[in-house]
């Protein structure tokens, strides 16, 4: 190796796989270059990357400059410019830009596609990737300025691929695998994710928001992409009618013919399946009964938590009147701590061309773009002005489902024109029953 790295070598001694080992492996691979690649950026980029990381561990400070160029012509995102402040000692990482590449819906790849992007990145970048970044993008780590347009051309012209979002943009929308493989999916997550991605290309590539904005799509409340915690707008599949019950299959679970949880917790002997303990008692709204060999659900009380369905997928199925709920305002810490999304639209059908959904999206953007302060996330604006304000802007009538905790924060207030008779009272009538 070009630089001695005693400090970061220690990161290899723990019980977990280490990125330092991966990087050394890649550095060696580039040095040997058995495939005779005509590297378009310095061959020793990875060695210099290890070197500058060691330097940072030594002096306790970063050697990356803050920010910089952002993209290819016409795009205001997708590239994160990184320059190092020690180019003399580490010329291989003088420029070390990150590129975000939009991940395919549900992260479905063909091995041919993966090979193609790796070949491209070995040729025109460091070969180091991050699969995947927290927005879901394929992350290419480290290339030089002249390579950006070249890579962009290859991606868009030959690989039918686009850059993702960064900066004050709509970020690359992310979805669960949905109906492609999952019987719990209440709507086609990939269709909606793709449709909104196409519809909002301008928002994705040309920054004009106060800060970042994320869409994520979960086909059901199991939340495999954790949209409720990670997206400014999360779209979570749900249903309106009853959970479908197949009593024969219930009996088969009870009788031990079918493994509960599709056999997922079979690593230890937990004893025979106990429907009372494992299903009925764990229903958060206590709305399941199992009596005389029959399972009954009081669907009015069911909160669609998915628990019973997850345990007995062959006996219980999602209802037929399907759609999604829209929540808004989730975000990671920085200001005010982490926040989960708040329910905005309890139920909407997810049918092409998704006009109803787009109306909500655009209503939220109009409000946030006008009222949001610089670097204020939607969730922070919702906290500052109140959920009621957002509902008003969207023309949504508040109902009990919008109240998170009755009494402690009943943040829905009546206005005078909503109350019969207004605020004026007949004082004489009042005095008949109340003394001064």
């Amino acid at each position: 190796m070009k630089h001695a790295t005693p400090l970061i070598d220690q990161l290899e001694t723990g019980p977990w796989p280490s990125f330092v080992s991966d990087m050394k492996h890649q550095a060696e691979k580039r040095a040997k270059n058995e495939e005779n690649i005509e590297f378009q950026i310095p061959q020793d980029v990875v060695e210099d990357l290890l070197g500058i990381l060691e330097l940072s561990f030594n002096d306790g400070t970063t050697h990356w400059k803050h920010g910089g160029i952002v993209g290819v012509f016409g795009y205001g995102g997708g590239v994160i410019g990184r320059y190092c402040d020690q180019p003399g000692n580490f010329p291989g990482v003088a420029h070390f830009h990150t590129m975000r590449v939009a991940q395919p819906g549900g992260k479905f790849y063909t091995s041919k596609y993966l090979k193609e992007i790796c070949d491209l990145w070995d040729l025109r970048g460091s070969g180091i990737t991050n699969m995947h970044g927290s927005t879901g993008d394929i992350i290419f780590l480290g290339t030089t300025t002249p390579q950006l347009e070249e890579i962009f051309f290859e991606l868009t012209h030959n690989m039918n691929q686009d850059l993702g979002g960064s900066g004050s943009n709509l970020r690359t929308p992310a979805d669960c695998i949905g109906q492609a493989r999952c019987e719990y999916a209440c709507y086609d997550t990939q269709a909606l994710c793709y449709d909104l991605t196409q519809e909002y290309q301008d928002e994705l590539h040309r920054p004009a928001f106060p800060y970042k904005f994320k869409f994520k799509f979960d086909g059901c409340p199991n939340g495999c992409v954790a949209s409720i915690a990670r997206a400014d707008m999360s779209f979570i599949g749900t249903w309106k009618d009853d959970i479908k019950v197949d009593q024969e299959a219930v009996a088969a679970y009870v009788g031990g013919e079918f493994a509960p949880n599709a056999g997922a917790h079979s690593g230890r002997d937990w004893g025979a399946f106990d429907i009372q303990k494992e299903v009925v008692a764990l229903c958060p709204s206590e709305c399941i009964k199992y009596e005389d060999g029959k399972l009954a659900i009081n669907n009015r009380e069911c909160v669609r938590c998915m628990h019973c369905i997850n345990v007995m997928p062959r006996a219980l199925r999602i209802g037929d009147e399907r759609g999604l709920s829209i929540l808004a305002g989730a975000k990671a810490p920085i200001l005010d701590g982490a926040q989960m999304g708040s329910l905005v639209v309890p139920f909407v059908k997810a049918e092409e061309p998704y006009d109803e959904i787009k109306e909500i999206v655009e209503g939220i953007w109009d409000w946030w773009m006008e009222e949001g302060k610089n670097r204020e996330r939607l969730g922070e604006l919702m906290k500052r002005q109140g959920l009621q304000k957002l509902l008003e802007v969207l023309n949504i009538k508040p109902d009990a489902r919008h109240v998170q905790e009755p009494r402690s924060n009943p943040y829905i207030f009546w206005k005078e024109d909503e109350v019969e008779g207004g605020w004026e009272r007949d004082i004489d009538e009042y005095r008949k029953h109340h003394q001064r």
């Binding site: 016409g74 205001g76 995102g77 960064s166 920054p207 004009a208 970042k212």
Partner: protein, 79 residues
């Protein structure tokens, strides 16, 4: 507002502020233009297309500036 007028306004205002600031949030631009964000965006997009403005980004936030002004030094608070 006509595009040419908007362009003049942006260049004049940003040049005036150059001494203290070289990068601007989108909100600053829509305020200068006195337009709703969606309307302002159409003009700002065009200004970028014509290289009257250029993007700058930290990765999480995006800003706008006149090309070549205060580039990196600005980000490190040296100007």
């Amino acid at each position: 507002m006509e595009y040419e007028e908007a362009k003049e306004k942006i260049i004049t205002e940003l040049t005036k502020k150059l001494k203290s600031k070289s990068k601007f949030y989108f909100n600053d631009l829509s305020k200068i233009l006195d337009m709703k964000p969606r309307e302002a965006k159409k003009i700002v997009n065009k200004l970028v297309q014509e290289s009257v403005l250029e993007y700058w980004s930290s990765g999480s936030t995006s800003m706008y500036g006149l090309p070549g002004t205060g580039k990196q030094a600005g980000a490190e608070h040296e100007d």
